[in-house]
Symmetry: C2
Subunit: 334 residues, 2 copies
């Protein structure tokens, strides 16, 4: 159709492959390109790589510029890395080519405090290009920041924000299970924790997003990682965890204002996690406790958010945007 939005995917790892069908089923979106330089992917058909059981006639290309040479690209969906410093150059290139950028990069969700130089630079480049950039996912980007923020609208007073996200990682994609250390010995877990490859990225960003909108000046944030040790054997399709090994991770983000704990983000993800839930607790007037008893599947939710953000990013003011300063992203039948 003439008024459809043309999109490309940049990054065809586990998340990108899962995203493809979300994009295809939305009538107003037209998927016109896919980029990934990985030698196992470049040259193959996107439909095959995404496991659709059919070819899409879209060859994955190694070069970012290639899809743009074939015509207008409205929005690029970047699903590559968690680190903003690793993602920034690609974002710059996409802006330069004229695309709005919606990215799953966790550190892009609210980089104003954690990466102020890069944030300002991306913002400047986006404004110059007349395009908008958004980092979004279920967490950071929704459950532990946007949602509690939006709920405070009905509060007269807010003393503390607590979010519990307890997930059974058996329902998540394999890279996620690996990322949380499932199946590692305690020593391996500590080594991965020490080299920084294990932690879930985003708690700090979520705390800064919350604090900025609530008018709180954080004097300190804390982000601790510890293993959840299996007491009995537990297994996903791909990983078996023996008793004494790590079943996953507990990560606790704490934000302090004038020495007082004002934000508490309690993230637990393990194979067989018993107490699955997503809960937002506002200690305020009135006190609020919102809960999703069965929890939110992070892979579906992140792919949905990336897809649902596309119309919003086109309507957004140019620059670096966050979920705290965009109108609510919603699903649409269109």
């Amino acid at each position: 159709m003439s008024d459809s939005i043309t999109v490309i995917q940049v990054g065809l790892g586990a998340l990108g492959r899962r995203l493809t069908p979300f994009l295809l089923e939305r009538p107003s979106l037209q998927l016109v390109g896919a980029v990934d330089p990985h030698p196992d992917l470049a040259g193959r058909d996107l439909g095959e790589v995404a496991g659709l059981g059919r070819h899409l006639g879209l060859e994955i290309v190694p070069d970012l510029w290639e899809p743009f040479s074939a015509g207008q690209v409205d929005v690029a969906l970047q699903t590559t890395v968690s680190s903003l410093s690793a993602a920034a150059l690609q974002i710059q290139d996409l802006l330069h080519c004229g695309a709005h950028v919606v990215s799953s990069c966790e550190e892009l969700s609210y980089p104003w405090q954690t990466e102020p130089y890069l944030a300002a630079e991306i913002d400047r480049q986006a404004r110059a290009a007349g395009r908008a950039v958004l980092g979004v996912g279920v967490n950071p980007g929704f459950l532990m920041d946007f949602l509690p923020l939006a709920l405070t609208a009905i509060c007269r007073q807010v003393r503390k924000v607590t979010v519990l996200r307890y997930q059974d990682a058996r329902a998540r994609r394999l890279p996620f299970q690996r990322k949380i250390g499932a199946g590692l010995s305690p020593e391996q877990f500590d080594a991965r924790k020490a080299d920084g490859s294990l932690r879930h990225v985003g708690l700090i960003e979520s705390m800064h997003m919350i604090a900025s909108r609530l008018g709180w000046t954080l004097d300190r944030t804390q982000d601790t990682v510890e293993p959840i040790i299996a007491e009995q054997r537990v297994a996903s399709d791909d990983i078996t965890v023996e008793p004494g090994q790590a079943a996953g991770v507990r990560q606790l983000g704490l934000g302090f204002v004038s020495g007082e704990e004002k934000i508490r983000l309690d993230f637990r993800a393990s194979l067989g996690e018993p107490d699955v839930q997503d809960t937002v607790i506002i200690d305020g007037d009135p006190p609020l406790r919102f809960t999703v008893p069965d929890g939110v599947n992070g892979d579906i939710a992140t792919c949905a958010l990336l897809t649902n953000a596309i119309p919003s990013i086109i309507d957004a003011e140019p620059g670096l945007r966050t979920m705290a300063d965009l109108p609510p992203i919603t699903w649409s039948a269109e």
Copy 2:
């Protein structure tokens, strides 16, 4: 302080009086005027009328123009009527005086389908004045429209939106208890229902807000009102309901797309309502069920929303805005 936001209150009925302390306790806001032509109110001190137990040195004036003659007014908070046709002239005057307008007028929450002429006219006047107008409250404006919309962000597919709002009206202000028909005989209830003075205003507006963002074209909406008859005596501070009388109201809003029920807003408010809750159910992929077990007190929530909306309306683009097209309103310490 020099960068404080100057606000006036327009309407000092039960809701306006309840709102006053919310405004006073926010450091960035400066309450500079109060308007109400009611002969029982004009000339009295706002602090006394609002039950603060102290004078504020702010005399309630009958004339809308008066506070503007004393200096800049950034935002007017209108808490007068539910009907947009009754509120529109005052909104026009406030815009003409140079104020942004945040209003509790239920029909203003999403008037584009129900009052398209008035909506377009207010939008035009606001743009011409370089000011923004927002209708907001807990319902319509938050629990039955903004919140379910915002939650669909994490959905791949949405088939139906259901919201349950079951309130015990004993915790609400007296005009609300009267509005829901508490203490009426079934015959009185039917008479009030027939003359239109009983219904809770807003279900239709909420359904249109939801449908517009989800890309659904409603071919029919339905808004039915019936009494909840008391089986035993129940009383609030002000009203006693005998068995056989109405304890309150059940109002059901249904929205149909191609003949299929896609939106269901189930509003129940009665003295002694047994099953108090606020629940949003998304029949989708994934299915979602968010709940606030004790429910949300509507008076606190509406006053909080009106207060929390003030910084947002100043940053908003000129024109008629709704909760569906503003960045999330949040509480702020500032």
